[in-house]
């Protein structure tokens, strides 16, 4: 546990306590610190900006409601929020899915997005589309590690898995991303 992590945990806990005592400025600081990250994760998981805002808003609402009972030193607010967002996204994705997919199932890339991204020279766009193709848990593990830049022990806490399981998901996710992006690049070169 780094000193920075402890400091962040203590600072956030103090802000949440201040909010519970009626300090509106503490609420604004917490929003500016955590809401963008919660929203970014929801965007990556759902691929829909409006739905992502709903999820992030619900997660922040739950934070305000738990504020009076928040016990400093137990969990980081960022970790708690990521976990809530991940669970809400999972629930949302399961509702829209007609049939549950087995873990590791890789649906064929039927969308032109990945190829189109490279044709236009947009590696970023191609990666976004490829990420959206990953199975849900691989996408979450890869997003938290490589876009949110969270350490794997924290990701394990967020996902309720062991660190080894998280690393396995990330390795499979990265392998699949390379396949998707290489296929797109090959199509582009051959075209």
């Amino acid at each position: 546990m780094t000193g920075e992590t402890t400091s962040e945990r203590e600072r956030d806990a103090a802000l949440l306590a201040a909010y519970a005592a009626g300090d509106a400025r503490a609420a604004r600081t917490l929003i500016e610190t955590h809401a963008p990250r919660a929203l970014a994760l929801a965007r990556r998981m759902l691929g829909n900006a409006a739905e992502a805002e709903e999820i992030a808003q619900e997660a922040m609402l739950r934070l305000w409601r738990i504020a009076p009972e928040w016990r400093a030193g137990e969990a980081r607010i960022s970790t708690w929020l990521y976990r809530v967002v991940a669970n809400l996204c999972t629930d949302r994705l399961r509702k829209v899915r007609t049939q549950p997919l087995p873990e590791g199932h890789d649906p064929p890339d039927e969308r032109p997005g990945a190829v189109a991204g490279l044709i236009e020279g947009q590696r970023v766009s191609a990666l976004e589309h490829a990420l959206a193709e990953l199975p849900e848990r691989q996408r979450l593990a890869v997003t938290l590690r490589h876009l949110e830049e969270r350490p794997n022990p924290e990701i394990a806490e967020i996902m309720g898995l062991t660190v080894d399981a998280v690393e396995s998901l990330q390795a499979r996710g990265r392998r699949r991303l390379r396949e998707l992006l290489a296929g797109a690049e090959l199509s582009y070169n051959e075209g």
């Binding site: 546990m1 909010y19 519970a20 005592a21 009626g22 509106a24 609420a27 604004r28 917490l30 929003i31 500016e32 809401a35 963008p36 929203l39 970014a40 805002e53 992030a56 808003q57 922040m60 609402l61 305000w64 409601r65 504020a67 009076p68 590696r123 970023v124 191609a126 990666l127 976004e128 590690r145 490589h146 876009l147 830049e149 350490p151 794997n152 022990p153 394990a156 806490e157 660190v163 690393e167 990330q170 390795a171 990265r174 392998r175 991303l177 390379r178 992006l181 290489a182 690049e185």
Partner: protein, 126 residues
């Protein structure tokens, strides 16, 4: 939980994923200002009620009872009457004996309820 950071074990090959992820992080669009303000509105709406001020502090039980009997003056009057009543009850009311035993008109009536009391007083030598 072991919090030691372990780097990605995936061997680097093919497309530079890390560079692509870095680019993707850089183009992350910030939240809409209206969305952030809606979060702030939620926070204010959910904010717990302020702690009660001393002037609004709930009054204790003794204060409530005192107010109900008329304040300090009413309380002192009631306490005095209580002490007087207890005194009369414990002390021998000799001053009342002549009136009870002397055939006072008030008790020499046809009042049937007074007769047993008079008889008791006579037996007791009052």
């Amino acid at each position: 939980m072991n919090m030691t950071f372990r780097p990605d074990r995936t061997p680097p090959e093919g497309i530079d994923l890390d560079a692509a992820f870095a680019e993707l992080r850089d183009v992350e669009s910030p939240p809409r200002p209206a969305f952030m303000e809606s979060l702030m509105a939620d926070a204010l709406a959910e904010m717990p009620a302020e702690a009660p001020t001393p002037s609004r502090r709930r009054r204790g039980g003794a204060r409530v009872i005192l107010a109900a009997i008329g304040g300090w003056i009413g309380g002192a009057t009631l306490a005095g009457a209580t002490v007087a009543g207890l005194t009369v009850g414990y002390l021998d009311p000799a001053g009342l004996s002549p009136r009870l035993s002397g055939g006072d008109v008030a008790y020499a009536t046809d009042n049937q309820l007074a007769e047993p009391l008079l008889a008791f007083a006579e037996e007791a030598g009052l």
